[in-house]
């Protein structure tokens, strides 16, 4: 009796997992099948598979979504954010982990509060300053702002990675006469490189996907300053009647993220898990 109950429980468990997996993927499957269909085919039945593998939608979406420009800008923005975050957070993480300065607890509390500050608390004056400095539409400047927003979490993450380094490693290097730069560059950096990859992965993803700051500071600017997702958003206004083209645009956006995610899934999962401990 008990054995049968257990058997039933295992089957129910499998069914539930498959059902949840299907829920997660169903909208994306719809995107894929409809990206090959004409507008009237989509309207007739969005659930039907495509009759032929036409690629016209993709060419049209690529042009009207300005994806060539958008991907370049998204890449510049993400790269800026990741570089700024890695440099600043690893230096700060080293200082905080080693308690090198007397005010380290105050800095920790500062970053904890900064991490939960709503963007709306600083967005409006920041917009004004950006407008005054003519930085609206400047992809690199927006990348720096997104770096600043992700700084607290990154500092905490890098700090925990520096905490894992035994004190003896640092002391041995100092006895050997290394200066701080040499110590960080040649001794500490290789040891914390898994931390750098984890931080780069999750901060890179956040920068690539960011909406509120990016749309506020870049959307009003020239076409030359839109990111990939903003280009797609602008397409939604003009093409919302041609669903085939819209879905092809979604495939263009989703495909590269999926490739990167599947290749780096370990780092994403590690990043989410360690990041959730501190934010």
């Amino acid at each position: 009796m008990r054995g049968r109950m257990k058997h039933v429980a295992v089957i129910v468990g499998h069914v539930l997992l498959v059902a949840f997996a299907a829920t997660a993927l169903f909208p994306l499957l719809l995107v894929l099948i409809n990206s090959f269909k004409t507008s009237s085919e989509v309207t007739a039945n969005p659930l039907a598979p495509p009759t032929e593998l036409r690629l016209d939608n993709f060419a049209e979406a690529w042009n009207y979504g300005h994806f060539a420009q958008g991907f370049v800008n998204s890449f510049i923005l993400t790269f800026t954010t990741v570089v700024v975050v890695l440099v600043c957070s690893s230096l700060a993480g080293y200082v905080l982990a080693g308690k090198k300065i007397r005010v380290w607890p105050a800095v920790m509390i500062y970053f904890m509060v900064a991490m939960t500050v709503p963007i709306q608390l600083f967005l409006f004056p920041l917009y004004y300053v950006f407008a005054q400095l003519q930085l609206l539409g400047n992809v690199v400047a927006v990348g720096v702002v997104i770096a600043a927003i992700n700084m607290p979490l990154s500092v905490f993450l890098m700090r925990t990675f520096f905490l894992k380094i035994p004190k003896s490693v640092e002391e041995a290097a100092l006895v050997d006469g290394a200066n701080t730069f040499q110590l960080l560059r040649s001794v500490m950096l290789p040891v914390v490189s898994p931390g750098l990859i984890t931080v780069a992965t999750i901060v890179g993803l956040m920068a690539w996907n960011e909406f509120l700051i990016t749309s506020t500071f870049l959307q009003g600017g020239e076409e030359s300053s839109i990111t990939a997702t903003l280009g797609y958003l602008s397409m939604n206004g003009t093409f919302s009647t041609d669903q085939g083209v819209m879905m092809a645009g979604a495939v263009i956006l989703v495909a590269p993220i999926m490739v990167v995610f599947i290749l780096l899934q370990r780092h994403f999962v590690d990043g989410f898990v360690s990041g959730s401990v501190k934010g």
Binding site: V95, L96, V113, L121, F124, T229, Y232, F272, V277
Partner: protein, 320 residues
């Protein structure tokens, strides 16, 4: 969590060893520290200054602007005291927005937490299929809000070409979820929950896996059933993770913006307005930056309470 606590303990161990060093070494270290302090302030400066210039300085400006009629265009502004706050509190839309934030909080504290916990428990006993399921569950979470929102808007909720429209034409009346005053907020929440729950699965699974095997085996030997093992072994072990996630969800519930703005911009007729969209509209639709700042300040107040709780819950880590 346990991984970080482990790192923390290792850190403490290193501290203890160091403080046990001989006095001569200690004085030598102090002199080195004295000479090198400036250097360490320089190393931490970029992170602190960048954060301060982007978050604190404009944050203080917002706190001041909330008491003015600043239009966000020039620098002229009149000090109007509490007038912005009085007007907001009088505005029924503010009440709607605050109510929606609270509703959002209740929805997210229950539905994604329930699904996340259930799926994490199911994956706990399935080590081989675990990796694949985690990746599948995380797919919506790693996609951009713009992508997710537009695909739901166009292929699911669209009454002409979406699944909802198809169902309506074929005898299953789903109405128009996003333009119905009563259902719009839940239609948006559905998209955000769809995108979010997989994250919780991964977090809870990581926490569950830290539970010592001996505890689970001991409970099973003593004849505990599945529910009892969960209730008395796993749950106490993941309590701190659960608490942190709850606080995180509460904080995010008062900041929710992306999916609401992308799907309805707070409409129809302010039915899905949130504090964030309410503030954003003041700033960029009616150029009332002073009022936007006041709403931002109210949001920060809720955020601040949550972040005190958050800091208090993670104080163990701070004392490392």
């Amino acid at each position: 969590m346990a991984a970080v606590e482990g790192a923390t303990r290792r850190g403490n161990g290193a501290m203890a060893r160091r403080s046990g060093a001989d006095p001569a070494g200690a004085s030598h270290r102090r002199s080195r520290r004295g000479r090198g302090t400036l250097k360490f302030y320089l190393l931490i400066a970029p992170a602190v200054l960048l954060s301060a210039f982007v978050v604190v300085v404009p944050g203080v400006m917002t706190a001041v602007a909330a008491f003015t009629d600043w239009d966000g265009i020039g620098l002229q502004a009149q000090w109007i005291g509490l007038a912005n706050f009085a007007e907001i509190l009088d505005d029924p839309v503010f009440t709607t927005a605050l109510g929606n934030n609270l509703r959002w909080m209740l929805l997210f504290l229950t539905i994604p937490v329930g699904i996340g916990l259930l799926t994490a428990l199911l994956l706990l006993t399935r080590p081989r299929s675990r990796t694949v399921y985690q990746v599948v569950f995380l797919v919506p979470y790693v996609l951009a809000p713009i992508t997710n929102a537009i695909l739901w808007l166009n292929i699911i909720y669209n009454p002409i070409s979406g699944v909802v429209g198809y169902a309506n034409d074929h005898g299953l009346d789903l109405g128009t979820p996003l333009s119905n005053l009563n259902t719009a907020i839940y239609a948006i929440a559905a998209v955000d929950i769809w995108h979010f729950w997989g994250f919780l699965t991964v977090i809870y699974l990581a926490a569950l896996r830290q539970t010592p095997v001996e505890q689970v085996e001991a409970a099973l030997v003593e004849g505990a059933n599945g529910w009892q093992v969960f209730r008395f072994v796993y749950l106490p072990n993941i309590r701190s993770t659960m608490q942190l996630m709850w606080v995180m969800i509460i904080i995010f519930s008062f900041l929710a913006f992306d999916y609401v703005w992308l799907l309805t911009q707070g409409g129809p007729a302010h039915a899905t307005e949130m504090l964030s969209t309410y503030a954003y509209s003041f700033a960029f639709a009616s150029f009332q930056f002073g009022k936007a700042a006041a709403v931002g300040l109210v949001m920060s107040f809720f955020g601040l309470i949550s972040s005190f709780v958050y800091t208090w819950l993670s104080r163990k880590d701070l004392n490392a």
